[in-house]
């Protein structure tokens, strides 16, 4: 009897489940591996790694990658991670050399790939990513990468602000800041200092009046200070003051003053000095402020907390690695690659000769389009979603109308982008007279294109807010608007951001609608207003791909794709940071 039960216990087959599990795994890995292989080739082309000598690779491996991994392992402080990393880095070297040589001997030579590159992409990059991830969980690594992230993010932000000021009028901004935002901010500050003065509630009217005054004065005021002074007064000083205010609450006046004033002084000095070196002084000023203030705040916090301060050396470690590597390569005369994606590529105009070709006007065009699209689609998308979810009745003619809108929005998400291009051409470019291929036309067209995705994802996010919260709010005697503003939207915001990120990612890569509205494939100077004709990165890349010279296809295009991806990643990172901030209480 007992034996019988025993045999019965072993009779359950898990074959189908196991097969399903591995087929699913294969399906999910398939796409990722193909995309990774493409990206590897693109980056090899963009950075001309095929021409990098093994000595060059080895030098930077030793000066840059090894210290970075070392820092991560020190921070992670975990024997198992160290052992795994050592195994991957050491064993990978042998494996990739053997396998690659074997494949080349049996199958034939592989174009533009060598075993050090295979080793780099298959073993070193993933291992480094893994150790960075592991280190980031611990204090030291968190401090190090937090600082590095603020440096890079601040720099990117400064560049983006600089690009936006190419198009948006800095003088108008100065007036708006001086008469609208600054008084409003002062009112809020005074209101918090003296709550019984009731100044906080007056901030909004003060700001609106100020903005109206600013717009009116723009045409009246004949003389303006130089842009450099405008940037110091109306961009750098508020950022520095914001940084100081962040620190002042917890760490006292001295720390706050140094956090605000030191980066400001450095930035102004850097701006003046940059002019002497032939660098654009305004951009240098902006970058030094947007990177400097967050870095100063972060360092001040870390020093007061006193935990993981050693992590602050990470940027210095990496900078030293690059410097030492460059010295060694220069001194020993190792053949170095000549990357297509270099500073001159992102700062110069397109050209018929591959070496001179640059992406600058297209980058500016894309950034401006995306900035406009982000604002337009967020406002329209969230507005529509709130209306559909919170305000419409379920029955009556309004209910029927709502259902009709719902169905149509779902269908609109599937309409091909060329059709939206046609709409943009007819409606915005022709009928409303926004002009062919201008930033405004492009932004409106792309906003319409992604609007259904934005609306649907925002609706999902709003629907996911528990009804009990709404009930709670209504039960307190809140109106529908108060409930939406105070309870529903804050809770739905992370989800709305996620949807908008995805939609913006689609917008930045669109080409077809831009062709339809008459955007130029190539423009030679950056747009200087939202009404000027512009190109966008995907358009320019597409144009280059048809050029006859092979260097365009195997270098310039690859560099363009890398730039597009980097801008996209930067954008997504910003949105994710915003989302995570809005998730916190």
């Amino acid at each position: 009897m007992a034996t019988e039960t025993g045999t019965k216990f072993q009779a359950v087959s898990r074959l189908r489940g196991t097969v399903f599990e591995y087929v699913s795994l294969g399906a999910s890995v398939f796409g990722i591996v193909l995309l990774a292989a493409l990206l590897v080739y693109v980056s090899i082309d963009a950075f001309d790694l095929a021409n990098a000598s093994p000595q060059w690779l080895l030098t930077y491996f030793l000066t840059l990658v090894v210290p970075l991994i070392g820092f991560c392992l020190y921070s992670a402080d975990d024997r198992q991670i160290t052992r795994r990393t050592g195994l991957a880095v050491g064993g990978g070297l042998v494996v990739s050399a053997l396998v690659f040589t074997g494949v080349e001997a049996l199958v034939g030579p592989i174009d533009r790939l060598s075993w050090p590159l295979v080793y780099l992409f298959v073993f070193v990059v993933p291992t480094t990513g893994y150790t960075i991830f592991a280190a980031n969980q611990e204090t030291v690594g968190g401090v190090g990468f937090g600082l590095l992230g603020r440096l890079l993010g601040g720099t990117a932000l400064g560049l983006a602000v600089g690009v936006l000021f190419l198009v948006f009028d800095p003088q108008l901004w100065m007036l708006a800041y001086t008469f609208g935002l600054l008084p409003a901010a002062l009112a809020v500050g005074y209101g918090q200092w003296r709550p019984d003065s009731g100044m906080s509630s007056k901030a909004l009217p003060i700001g609106i009046v100020g903005l109206v005054v600013a717009v009116g004065l723009r045409q009246v005021v004949p003389m303006y200070p130089t842009d450099f002074i405008i940037y110091i007064w109306s961009v750098s000083m508020p950022i520095a003051a914001g940084g100081a205010a962040l620190v002042a609450g917890q760490r006292g006046r001295t720390a706050a003053l140094s956090v605000g004033l030191v980066p400001l002084a450095v930035a102004v000095a850097g701006g003046f000095a940059a002019a002497g070196f032939g660098l654009p002084s305004k951009t240098v000023l902006l970058v030094l402020v947007t990177a400097g203030v967050p870095v100063a705040v972060f360092i001040s916090r870390t020093l007061t907390d006193g935990e993981g301060t050693i992590g602050l050396v990470l940027p210095i470690l990496l900078a030293a690695g690059v410097l030492v590597g460059a010295l060694i390569v220069d001194f020993a005369g190792f053949p170095a690659p000549d990357p297509w994606l270099d500073p001159s590529y992102v700062t110069s105009s397109p050209s018929r000769t591959p070496v001179d070709a640059g992406l600058y006007p297209a980058i500016v065009g894309s950034v401006i389009i995306i900035a406009l699209v982000a604002v337009l689609s967020f406002v329209l998308g969230v507005g529509t979603a709130v209306f559909l979810e919170e305000y419409t009745a379920g029955s009556g003619w309004m209910g029927a109308l709502t259902r009709l809108i719902q169905v149509n929005i779902a269908n609109l998400a599937a309409v091909p982008s060329v059709v939206y291009g046609l709409l943009g051409l007819g409606l915005f470019a022709n009928f409303l007279g926004f002009g062919f291929g201008t930033a405004v036309t492009a932004a409106f067209t792309l906003s319409l294109l992604i609007l259904p995705i934005t609306i649907i994802s925002a609706q999902e996010a709003i629907r996911a807010v528990p009804d009990s919260l709404r009930q709670g709010s209504y039960g307190m005697g809140a109106t529908r608007w108060q409930t939406t503003k105070n309870v529903v939207l804050p809770e739905a915001l992370p989800g709305i951001f996620t949807g908008t990120i995805l939609a913006l990612g689609r917008a930045i890569g669109e080409t077809a609608p831009l062709i339809m509205i008459g955007a130029a494939t190539t423009v030679f100077s950056a747009p200087d207003s939202i009404w000027s004709k512009l190109s966008a990165m995907p358009m320019q890349i597409y144009a280059w791909a048809n050029f006859p010279q092979a260097e365009f296809r195997y270098g310039v295009v690859a560099a363009g794709v890398m730039t597009l991806l980097i801008v996209l990643l930067g954008m997504n990172a910003t949105a994710i940071i915003l989302r995570n901030k809005s998730e916190g209480v």
């Binding site: 709404r470 009930q471 039960g475 307190m476 005697g477 105070n486």
Partner: protein, 274 residues
């Protein structure tokens, strides 16, 4: 035999919980006459007429689906949120029919606070949760008002050092007391409670019961409960709804539990059905 046992159990409960509140003549605060409620074709309340006294705890009991929550939600017009819900008849709050077209349900809810079955604090700080009602009602938010509300909800000592932390970090019982603090902060006249302890453990539930006993000094409390012992312990008046949305009996709690006028009520409170 079994019936008798549970009978006597409840009797002792009642006698041991003499609330000792004044027997002064009761001022009616909420009264309904022939109140019918339909969800589409289903009748949820059938001809309910009741007079609820001020500064007393009124318990509403009855089996599932008998319309007790529906009645509670009629009082502050939370049923307006349900499109299919239709109300017929009159319900007076201080003599005003709340279903009069002139009455703004939002203004009504500012006089009648509500606590729900599941604790539903907002994902904001404890301070902001309590201040929420004051803010949306356009009243001034002061630290004293927030502190008073938390003290009245018997939560102040537990949370006074963590007012900036999220209300969601509290335990279930604390969350429910936070919801009570939130409801009483804007100083309503009536507090409606829809099975406020059914999602809580017995210790947390008894804290809420003690709290209700104190709240009734300042507010009129109407509580829907599934728990008959709870109704017997904390209420002055008890309304018994039975299936079909009929108000079968409404009287002093002691009378209802010791000497009910209807056999079906007796069957229900002695546990023969429900």
């Amino acid at each position: 035999m079994a019936t008798q046992q549970s009978d006597s159990l409840i009797t002792t409960e009642v006698s041991s919980s003499q609330t000792g509140r004044s027997a002064a003549p009761d001022e009616t605060v909420i009264s309904s006459t022939d109140l019918d409620v339909f969800y589409d074709a289903d009748k949820a309340l059938d001809d309910v007429s009741i007079e609820i006294p001020e500064h007393k705890v009124t318990a509403i009991i009855g089996p599932s689906g008998c319309g007790k929550s529906t009645f509670l939600r009629c009082i502050n017009r939370m049923n307006d949120q349900i499109p299919a819900c239709e109300v017929d008849g009159e319900l007076h709050f201080h003599g005003t029919n709340v279903y009069d077209p002139q009455v703004d349900p939002v203004a009504l809810r500012r006089k009648i606070g509500m606590v729900f079955q599941k604790p539903n604090p907002f994902p904001k700080s404890i301070y902001e949760n309590v201040a929420y009602g004051l803010r949306v009602q356009g009243k001034e938010v002061t630290d004293e008002l927030v502190e008073d509300a938390l003290r009245n909800a018997a939560l102040w000592d537990e949370v006074k050092d963590q007012l900036d932390e999220s209300g969601l970090d509290l335990s279930g019982g604390q969350q429910q007391r936070l919801c009570i603090a939130r409801a009483i902060a804007p100083d309503p006249e009536v507090v409606l409670m829809d099975e406020p302890t059914s999602a809580l453990d017995p210790v947390a539930a008894s804290k809420i019961e003690d709290l209700i006993d104190e709240l009734v000094e300042e507010y009129t409390v109407i509580i829907v409960t599934h728990n008959m012992q709870q109704a017997a312990r904390i209420s002055d008046k008890t309304a018994v709804f039975l299936t079909g949305g009929k108000l079968v009996e409404f009287d002093d709690t002691q009378t209802v539990f010791e000497n009910p006028a209807h056999d079906r009520v007796e069957d229900y409170i002695t546990g023969k059905f429900g």
